[in-house]
Symmetry: C2
DNA sequence: CAGTATCCGATGCGATACTG
DNA sequence: CAGTATCGCATCGGATACTG
């Protein structure tokens, strides 16, 4: 049996929405993902088969529109107005998750490339000098089963950011040395930036201005500042 | 594989939430459902097995608390604070659904007992006389495969409402004769009450006061008044 | 009534291989 | 690169039967 057999709008919405991966695909689209493999970077564990299938379903439901790229192979996927309005739902869902669903941090689940992929989208360029800035992240103390990934470069230029897993060759402006878990905790809002520095989980090396401004231009997760529930028994 | 392998709060929330039936179970709990079979009335198509399993999952996730009834067999299920805060998500989801996911009304999916079960919860008692009011609904023109269900009684008394599928024997104060689909359309906000009356899809018989006040004390679906998107091409 | 245990069929989904 | 077709297994979930 398919569907819930109800005319309630919540039920109708759930028929397309409460499917595995679908809310996260929408999250990626609303965060600016447009290409198939771009979406996959934000969803490392989804299979290509399933992503393709879900995109087709979303397009049939009028939530996604796709068209072939002007040049090259492949398509561009765009959120429609209906998808845009879904942001409201995802924001409430994320706030709820931040308050009630953040389980004890399991370092084995820590996916550093995914973390950096998200970091990339949360830069306040207005707080940065107009020239190109290259930040190298040196990670340590991540679990053995993590992909071989110790260093990456964040390139901030012209209002856009890129993450490189290989040395792009540019001169480095700032080096962030971080315990992987500490970086993740700061990102999620579990501990403050200052606390992580004081604990030694995070260290910055570079020009004074850039270092001092770091917490202002590296925005954290969208939900980092959501107030957790007071501990009630 | 279980889970999304992400620390994003949306992903965490989805692990418990984006499962079949779960949002609707939450909807029922937040609408006041407390007993197993009470929940089932709002979810006619769920199996007992699955409802039981989901309630256990929700309890493990801290979203539901249950305890044996003081008297009698069975348990009482209660939404926790976490569930209460989930209302925000469901409201946004319902608004989205009302705007974007209400497909062409399929009369074959029209479940009148379910409709009445929902109607029962949307009464503004402040608009009613303090005494007991009994409303009889006579339905017509519903699909053949619908359960044999033509008439039901809505009993409004002491701030609580009950739906009976068999004559409770009380004197009837008001009779609503309705084309089943018209009633559903009014309920969902697709057409106005006045329009349905003018079209002949709905008729009221009873004392003038009660008839005139009807649209004020029979509240519609929670989402009936959500503005639909302007028709853009 | 208020559920739970068991069984088994449907489908969801990942792996692999393939295509323009 | 940017996907799609096929296959096979794992799990999801409904039906049935059972229990206090």
């Amino acid at each position: 049996m398919k569907g819930y057999g109800q005319f309630c709008p919540i039920a109708m919405a759930c028929e397309t929405f409460a499917e595995r991966w679908t809310p996260l695909i929408l999250r990626e689209l609303l965060a600016g993902g447009r290409r198939f493999n771009e979406l996959r970077q934000g969803l490392p564990l989804i299979s290509r088969t399933l992503l393709g299938q879900r995109l087709r379903e979303l397009e049939a439901a009028g939530i996604v529109q796709s068209r072939p790229l002007a040049r090259g192979r492949g398509r561009e996927y765009r959120p429609t107005q209906a998808a845009e309005e879904f942001r409201e739902v995802l924001d409430r869902l994320g706030e709820w998750g931040q308050r009630w669903a953040t389980t004890q941090f399991d370092p084995d689940n820590l996916d550093l490339p995914l973390l950096m992929w998200n970091v990339r989208r949360r830069i306040d360029f207005a707080r940065l000098p107009a020239r190109r800035i290259v930040v190298r992240f040196d990670f340590r103390a991540f679990p053995a089963r993590c992909r071989p990934f110790r260093t990456c470069w964040l390139i901030l230029e012209g209002g856009g950011s890129d993450v490189c897993l290989k040395d792009p060759g540019h001169e480095v402006d700032l080096v962030v040395s971080a315990d992987a878990e500490a970086m993740a905790r700061v990102w999620t809002g579990a501990i403050s930036f200052g606390q992580a520095v004081r604990d030694g989980g995070l260290r910055l090396d570079g020009p004074r201005d850039l270092v001092r401004a770091f917490p202002s231009w590296l925005l954290l997760s969208h939900f980092a500042h959501v107030q957790r529930p007071a501990r009630v028994v």
